[in-house]
């Protein structure tokens, strides 16, 4: 797997505010996956990005892969309490390297 770093480690927002987490690497990545882990749960696959500059949307979630394939972002528009959890990025195929995750808290 390829090394990835995530920022921020933690963010607390009010419901309705937007949220963004970033995943960065010093080397070109083959791909990026994003996972969400609810408190007490297991990582659930959200999306995989492969192409340079790729943008994918899932309802209020927007995922981007940088043009240089060295960074990615996950943006949530108008957060809801159901968005609470830790968001992990990872890179690789069969063998993944995970970032440390961004924990999102949403206050009603």
């Amino acid at each position: 797997g390829q090394q990835v770093m995530q920022i921020p480690q933690y963010q607390h927002v009010q419901e309705g505010e937007d949220f963004t987490t970033y995943c960065n690497s010093s080397t070109t990545l083959s791909n990026i996956q994003w996972y969400k882990q609810r408190p007490g749960g297991h990582p659930v696959f959200l999306i995989q990005l492969v192409k340079s500059g790729e943008v994918k949307k899932q309802k209020r979630l927007t995922f981007q892969f940088g043009e240089a394939k060295k960074n990615s972002s996950l943006h949530i528009t108008a957060t809801q309490t159901t968005d609470v959890g830790t968001y992990f990025c990872s890179s690789g195929y069969s063998t993944l390297t995970f970032g440390k995750g961004t924990m999102l808290l949403v206050s009603p």
């Binding site: 797997g1 996956q33 996972y35 749960g41 297991h42 990582p43 659930v44 696959f45 995989q48 992990f88 990872s90 195929y93 069969s94 063998t95 993944l96 995970f98 970032g99 440390k100 995750g101």
Partner: protein, 115 residues
């Protein structure tokens, strides 16, 4: 996607004992993996379970401590041997394969507490 089950879902064990965790997937998969997630931390890959041969271990993990079996394409076990409180963690199996669109899916995890 793949449906993955793990047994047990949680356990409390005494120091010095061993626990075997089972992972079952509902379809044949190319690869199966075992991860550890310590409280509040990210996921760390322990090993790749290889069918019919010895598992491939990551740096810092050894077969004597974490023996792994994979007798077929849908099942694997991880044993945590001679446990100490430092082994308290969540252990997750995951699967990957071309039939899964090159995506890795995780089981529900086994929450282990060692006293």
């Amino acid at each position: 996607s793949a449906v993955i089950s793990q047994k047990p879902s949680r356990d409390i064990c005494q120091r010095g004992t061993s626990l075997t965790i089972q992972c079952q997937v509902d379809s044949q998969v190319t690869m199966m993996f075992w991860y550890r997630q310590q409280p509040g931390q990210s996921l760390t890959l322990i090993a790749t379970a290889n069918q019919g041969s010895e598992a491939t271990y990551e740096s810092g993990f050894v077969i004597d401590k974490f023996p792994i079996s994979r007798p077929n394409l849908t099942f694997s076990t991880l044993t945590v041997s001679n446990m100490s409180p430092e082994d308290s963690s969540i252990y997750l199996c995951s699967v990957w394969g071309q039939g899964l669109a090159d995506t890795q899916y995780f089981g529900p995890g086994t929450r282990l507490t060692v006293l």
